[in-house]
Amino acid sequence: VAFGVDRLLGQQEVVIRPVNDPLIRVPGISGATDLGDGRPTLVLDLVALSASLSENTKRQWVAP
């Protein structure tokens, strides 16, 4: 599976904080990190994301 994005900004090692609250716990997002700009940067779980996408596709195919 390939993921299309607008732009790549670089790579670095980060500390991941968990997403605990159900309001922001969504499939494909495993946590967030702070890159120093004061705002959280979301961390994607690409395996979970592609799994949730294929589930959605299956559901669409099953639906009448």
């Binding site: 997403v19 609250d21 309001l23 922001i24 494909g28 997002i29 004061g38 705002r39 979301l42």
Partner: protein, 162 residues
Amino acid sequence: VTLHLIFNLAGTEYAVPVDAVIQMETFTGATLVPGSPSFVAGVVTIRGRLVPVIDLRLRFGLPPAEIALETRLIVTDTGGRVVALRVDGARELLRLDVAAHQPPPPVLVERAGGLVSGMHSLGKRLLLLVDLRKILGETSHDLSPHALLEDDASKARAALPA
């Protein structure tokens, strides 16, 4: 008598007990979380912790507003769940006699879907009391935005005995 934080939303005043409030923050923006409910303005970091931001205007079915100088985040703790509420402004603390709380008029209960648990009249002012647990959406049923119209306070005020 309980200390309450008074906040403003679309011209109406609301009250929340300060027991539930951890701190206040100015709001400069949040990181959007795709797939989260429509009234979630995103996530911010507060004291090293990821905290979801509920846009109370959207939660109440009111039109969105631009970020202004007065915009505040009220960081709340409800049974260990830390959630920030984005409001138009908040800068007053008042001691309210809980015994003087009144139930909301039926029209308001229906429109606000239980998000407003009561009201408190204070001279000419009418304060609406919010139910934090309902706002957070303890059940998925609670998560749909409710149409709480901007004129609700004036209608409630009119329903009060003179």
